[in-house]
Amino acid sequence: MPDASFSSIMEGRRSQPHQLIEVLQDVQSQHGFISEDAMKTISSELGVSLMEIYRVASFYKAFSLTPCGKNVITICTGTACHVRGANQILSQAVGQLEIEPGETSDDGLFTIKQVNCLGACALGPIVTENGDSHHHMSPGRLRRLVKSLYKADTEDSPHDKD
């Protein structure tokens, strides 16, 4: 983990074990995942055992212990999105990218995440792509979105069958 960003994350939090989740949140948002090295450093800076850090990092959904793909497709499957067909959206993503929720594609370009609620329930189904939200999502719109993201990153798309 780069020292500079880590120092700013730890600023004002050193030796305060109750700040663990806040620290992990910042590491997750800056680095995309919580590495073993990061856990070791946090352990010595906060004075919390490595085992406890692993326990907390693996308990909460906000934290990922493996790196995510370049594009993170987050599909809301909260109740309101579920009754409006979030399963079809999930099926589209899984079928098109050939990975399951939580997995990253072999080329490192895509990760599918499934979340319980993003709080924009009135506009479901909701999908976010790298933090940018899309409302009233349909399988077709998702297919085109993934295709355009893929095109932006590569010459031609094996995920596109047109």
Binding site: P17, H18, Q19, L20, I21, E22, L24, Q25, V48, E52, R55, V56, F59, Y60, K61, A62, F63, T77, G78, T79, A80, C81, H82, V83, R84, G85, N87, Q88, S91, Q92, A93, V94, G95, Q96, V115, N116, C117, L118, G119, A120, C121, A122, L123, G124, I126, S133, H134, H135, S138, P139, G140, R143, K161, D162
Partner: protein
Amino acid sequence: MTRINSTVDLEAMRRGFAKDRKEYQATIALCGGTGCKVSRAQPVIDALKEELITHGLDKRVCLRVTGCHGFCEQGPLMIIEPGNIFYCHVSADDAPDIINKTIREGEVIERLLYTDPLSAKRIRTVSEIPFYREQNRSLLSQNPLVDPCSIEDYIAIGGYRALTKTLSEISPESVVREIMDSGLRGRGGGGFPTGRKWAQCREAPGDEKYVICNADEGDPGAYMDRCVLEGNPHLVLEGMLIGAWAIGATQGYVYVRNEYPLAVEHVRVAVKQARKLGLLGNNILGSGFSFDVEIARGGGAFVCGESTALMASLEGKVGEPRAKDVHTVVDGLWHKPTTLNNVETWANVPFIIQKGAAWFSSMGSKGSKGTKILALTGHIKNTGLVEVEMGTPIEKVVFDIGGGAANGKPIKAIQTGGPSGGCLPADKFYLPVDFDTLTEAGSMVGSGGMVVMDESTCMVDVAKYFLTFLQDESCGKCAPCRLGIDRMLEIITDITNGDGDPKQLGLLEDLGYTMSETALCGLGKTAANPVLSTLRYFREEYETHIDEKRCPAGVCQALITFTIDPETCNGCGACKRECPHNAVVGKKKAVHSIDLDLCQKCGICRSECKFDAVNVN
């Protein structure tokens, strides 16, 4: 801005802010809440700003980007004053017309007005729109009046007046008495009397006490706390300040979901602003009372909505609940007396102090006073945030405010209270939204999520959905919840796969009642509610799945097959193009068919077909 040291200072400041606001020729209150942001409100904000500068109106017209206005389905939306004009589905291209016609000429732009789906008439003002007209927006009415990042706005409309009244005129005991008399009950789901909680915490021994605002809102399908915190954070802080004064706390925490970035940002800004003015910190308004607030972001665990689990999480630990032999009002955060209330509960407090317990208790039903914010979603025309007096019948919410079914299919049920609540059938829609009535009916008000379901929803699938959610979210600490949910999900999966047995229905009920009596925390105790309520009201759907191996709504994948009707199919190829599993075969302009070996039964082909040629059997 300098620190305010007394009530007189605050009032002087308020007069100044209010005068500034009056000098504007017009105000555009544009919703910048999460819903409208998702509907692309940002380009509208940018375009309006540019347009105002171009016309030299940026100092004369107030462009206020506010929190949620509630009518999310119509976003991005705005209210223009004077005139109370309501514009919906606004885009950046509309900005020149809005400034040129409405702001400069006072002309109303017909195409941006809301069209009532029943009368097909365009409606001009907010107060005439049925969605708003039928509500009692006691809490939410402030949202369009304040920019959440402006403490000036909040002070200008009378903000922090309840705090000054409290600190100068009311003793802590009297504050507790006032909250008790108001009949306010916790809005987070439990419905525990707030005043009683405060009294117990106040009486608990110890010099160090805490107040916590629970903004974790883990219920999928509920987002009222997000809107209140995101749209009016100072209201929540003011409530916490009053509560802290009443119970004798000097430190508070806001535990907010990290999935709500806007709420996190706005409450952080609000805390900074309040500290700068001396409304948080030492010796607030010269009263000798000191209190500060820290923000903690949740890690995304549903169980942290439970008070003891939330407190463990605030301590930096795994969010596991503990047995409440001793309540958190005595032994809470770091083993100190702690009062935890939900966002909406805190937001009610300043109003009760300002307007009095009698005003609050004049609204609502016998055991449930005041108003409740509901998140109305699902298969309904007007989705959004709705605030009604408690005791309002569900049918008024669904039909008068919600506008009824969205897709013309009859409404079958309403799911209330999230994963801890239950499903009520349409013939129970006469029931009032009231803590005790809905609990007796096998559901609950909960935090106020209301998901409307039409005939395309399978109730066994809904029960399975919630069990899957709860299995994932159970912390696993106690056996009844960990194992009970697993076994129930196994049984329901059997039923939805067509392997069910009639005896299993009784077993599901036994498991459910055992869990509700023996689980450690609220999550486990209520986890069986979605199953028990659907068994109570929709038993015949379970029986059809078991006896006839059929899913009447055509949802449960193992019991259905998709086929293309050769008579109707015109070979347009939409289904083939959209199928993510390459299961549709056929040449262009020729009849298509589905390869059942490849078909994953997701139903995408059916929703994409514009000619109703895909049948579900």
